[in-house]
């Protein structure tokens, strides 16, 4: 094991430069260090001007997504030893505008999350005094996987459609919609399907499948999208039948 490893990191200081550059730092190599530890070492000891997001360092808050050697990863879960040999390339998440160094702009993503109406939609709310909505473990299972999304946006960085057509709603937002669609307590499936069948919705997806590959929480957004395509297609076919409308 080498005593140090090189990290080549994107730098972008909009007040001084009009395009990003790369800067290389030498950090100690420890077998239980992740890329985030190396970045913190740089910030604490070598160069206080390096900006990046992080918080929980245990893979649940979704803040620290970056490109490590060309693949979107959570830097709190990407071990240095897995990214050898150096220099390890650390860049901001693909397909998002860069604000500064390794920090990207995510308001587009936030807007899309909201667009799919990710809340329980019901005709009538049951009063609290009647207790909880009953939901069997099997019913919970139907949407559980889709509820595990930590909003880390690695899937957006892996999706070439999002890169080429930034208006695409995107994997995580659609998976979140499906999470509610499949929740037995929700009645908003039709409403969401309308939104998702619009031009920038599910039909823009060409099933590259990379989103599911890079997802650190096994949400399987590609699955959610294809399942919705099937639901959408069947629903549309039904509307062709004279009794299928409404």
């Amino acid at each position: 094991m080498p005593p140090t490893v090189a990290l080549t990191v994107t730098r972008y200081r909009p007040e001084r430069e009009s395009a990003p550059t790369m800067q290389t730092y030498e950090v100690p190599f420890r077998k239980d260090w992740v890329v985030l530890d190396a970045l913190n070492y740089i910030k604490d000891r070598l160069d206080g001007t390096l900006s990046f997001r992080w918080s929980c360092r245990m893979g649940v808050c979704g803040s620290c997504g970056m490109m490590v050697n060309g693949s979107p990863k959570l830097t709190c879960a990407a071990f240095l030893s897995d990214s050898l040999p150096g220099p390890i390339r650390v860049e901001p998440l693909n397909y998002f505008p860069v604000v500064r160094d390794l920090v990207v702009e995510i308001t587009d993503f936030m807007r899309k999350l909201k667009k799919v109406k990710p809340w329980i939609i019901r005709e009538d709310e049951r009063p609290l005094a009647e207790g909880e909505y009953r939901q069997t473990p099997d019913e919970l299972d139907r949407y559980k996987q889709f509820s595990m999304c930590i909003n880390c946006m690695l899937c957006y960085s892996a999706c070439p459609i999002y890169g080429l057509e930034p208006s695409f709603i995107g994997p995580a937002a659609i998976a979140l919609a499906q999470r509610y669609n499949m929740d037995s307590r929700d009645e908003g499936g039709r409403e969401r399907l309308e939104i998702l069948s619009e031009h920038d919705g599910i039909w823009q997806c060409t099933f590259v499948g990379e989103c599911t590959k890079v997802c650190p929480k096994n949400v399987d957004p590609a699955g959610a999208i294809q399942q919705l395509k099937l639901t959408g297609a069947i629903h549309w076919l039904k509307t062709l039948l004279p009794w299928g409308r409404g």
């Binding site: 206080g48 900006s51 992080w54 918080s55 893979g59 808050c61 803040s63 160094d101 999350l113 809340w119």
Partner: protein, 581 residues
């Protein structure tokens, strides 16, 4: 200078903050609500909570039992009127969250499932696999998205100061991180839900963002901090990273073993070891006692030693793969990722790590601080329902109950207030100038943030750990004082306005130093041992002298002034705290 106005401003977008915002939106739909947070709401630290949230729901369980467990768990320092309100409102809050879509784990008939938890006499901890905080936070966040136009969000805006005028809190000054623009947001009521301050210590389950921001802001504005000496050490954190291994692992039946493979808790008046978990016994004892047992085992030389210090083993192998995958999947994932072991086949190395702050901004049972217009809820506040030690799974429920209470109280207050005065603009401009002079335009300086932070960590670890002593606390107080002075002469590399995280680190360091000082001084003045505050020089509980809260007021210079407030006792007179029998 950007100036905006709202009626109720919530600082912090975690469990308590989002619940408060929804409470205002639902009860006072005409009010303008704003939520300001230095991170996007789904990054708030509520997200890492694992084990569960307690509320009485099953037959055979009573509110009185929950109250008693909480009060005895808190070593009788809890305010019992607050605890009574808490246990009474908890079940409704949890059901409300269920109606909002929270994916609680279920029994086969579809009812919400509960699990046993440390210090509880009945099973009342609701859970969502072992990612309860994650699911609760995302449910709350997604529900707030429904309140279009009612709630204005200021994401990644770092609050640097409270605006106080005419004796009441009237807003905040904040930096919009992406652009470096300083904003003044005036409000008729402000609710601080900024969480705890675990990062004051070196080994903690807490995220990088837990720096006691709100506590320091309130402290500087004249609101006192209560019971700061009570720092909870969670008995099972991973060595090196400090990552939390949930109490649920013990609730499902995990054992704590020393280096001889012996369930050592039986030596410390926590009951007799049984093959399956028994409530309030052994591994289901309260967190402070379990952490203290670790230290005692270490002194006896019966803990294992590794590259990152001493540890013991948490054994869940006997639970079997099926149970672990169903009830503790995240634990398995974390162990595999960060320790390289499979808990189905190997034992997990664990040690106590700082986890929660029982102390915080002093509030009454409605979330109001002594400063009119300023409210607080969640871990940032101290109501106090947790007293000298918090029981696991009470904190997530606390966020909901007191988030809602503070929201409603703040909204009611806001409806009675006039628009904030224009003189606040002068304060805001002052603050902008301070930020420019002390940080952004400052050249030279000799102290590095990382160095001061490391020294603070070392001081706190040594003095405010599981066991404390007067002499060490005195030294620590002096050291912290010198660190405060040195922090006035920081050498900063980053003078940019765009997403300057060195600036935020410097501001966070200053918050942490204030909070650390309050912790050490409060610990120094409490000459007894109670709950999580254990003094080797005063090893007994002293109800005559110290059945009262420590209330710390910031002094213009020098150590804070520590005053006292008696703990509110209603129906449960102080008694012996007994577990295991």
């Amino acid at each position: 200078m950007d100036l905006s106005a709202c009626d109720v401003l919530v600082v912090g977008g975690g469990g308590a903050g989002l619940r408060a915002a929804i409470a205002v939106a639902e009860t006072h739909p005409k009010l303008r609500i704003a939520v300001i947070s230095k991170v996007y709401p789904m990054r708030s630290h509520t997200v890492s909570a694992e084990g569960g949230a307690a509320a009485v729901i099953k037959a055979g369980d009573t509110l009185d039992q929950h109250a008693y467990d909480t009060i005895s768990g808190g070593d009788w320092l809890c305010d019992q009127d607050a605890v009574e309100a808490f246990v009474r409102e908890a079940p409704e809050e949890m059901l409300r969250l269920e109606h909002w879509g929270c994916p609680w784990s279920r029994e086969t008939d579809g009812h919400v499932a509960v699990r046993p938890f440390g210090g509880m006499t009945a099973q009342r901890t609701w859970f969502a696999a072992d990612k309860t905080g994650f699911h609760m936070l995302h449910t709350l966040f997604q529900t707030t998205l429904k309140y279009d136009d009612a709630i204005q969000r200021y994401d990644e805006s770092f609050v640097t100061r409270l605006l106080v005028d005419e004796g009441r809190c009237q807003g905040v000054v904040a930096i919009e991180l992406a652009t470096g623009k300083v904003q003044a947001i005036t409000a008729k009521a402000v609710i601080l839900c900024t969480g705890g301050c675990g990062k004051v210590f070196p080994f903690t389950t807490n995220a990088n963002i837990k720096n006691g921001d709100g506590m320091a802001l309130a402290y500087r504005a004249g609101a006192p901090l209560k019971d700061m000496e009570f720092v909870q050490y969670h008995p099972t954190g991973l060595p090196f990273t400090g990552i939390l291994i949930t109490e649920a692992a013990r609730a499902e039946g995990g054992w704590l073993l020393n280096k001889d493979g012996y369930r050592y808790l039986q030596d410390y008046d926590l009951g007799k070891p049984e093959p399956t978990p028994v409530l309030r016994t052994m591994e289901l004892g309260p967190r402070d006692r379990l952490s203290q047992c670790f230290v005692k085992e270490q002194e006896k030389g019966r803990t294992l030693e590794g590259p990152y210090g001493h540890y013991v083993h948490l054994d869940i192998r006997h639970l079997g793969e099926e149970v672990i995958d169903r009830k503790l999947p995240f634990v398995r994932e974390l162990c595999h990722k960060y320790v390289g072991i499979d808990p189905v086949r190997e034992m997990i190395p664990v040690r106590p790590v700082v986890h929660y702050m029982m102390g915080g901004i002093h509030t009454d049972i409605h979330g109001a601080t002594p400063l009119p217009g300023l409210y607080a809820a969640g871990e940032a506040a101290c109501v106090s329902i947790n007293g000298a030690n918090r029981l696991g799974s009470n904190s997530l429920t606390e966020c909901l109950v007191f988030g809602a209470r503070a929201g409603k109280a703040a909204a009611a207050f806001a409806t009675s207030q006039e628009e904030p005065s224009p003189s606040l603009l002068a304060q805001a401009t002052d603050e902008q100038r301070r930020l420019e002079e002390k940080f952004l335009r400052k050249l030279g300086g000799t102290e590095r943030i990382a160095t001061l932070r490391a020294e603070m960590h070392e001081t706190m670890e040594e003095s405010a750990g599981i066991y404390r002593a007067g002499a060490i606390l005195e030294k620590a107080a002096e050291k912290l004082q010198s660190l405060q002075e040195r922090s006035g002469n920081l050498s900063l590399d980053d003078h940019s306005y765009t997403f300057n995280t060195e600036l935020t680190a410097a501001l966070e360091l200053s918050y942490m130093l204030d909070v650390a000082e309050a912790i050490v001084q409060s610990a120094l003045k409490r000459r007894e041992s109670r709950g999580s505050h254990q003094r080797t020089d005063y090893p007994d509980r002293d109800d005559k002298e110290f059945l009262r809260h420590s209330v710390a007021y910031r002094a213009a210079d020098g150590p804070p002034r520590i005053e006292h407030l008696p703990a509110t006792i209603t129906r449960w007179p102080p008694a012996q705290r007994v577990y295991g029998r």
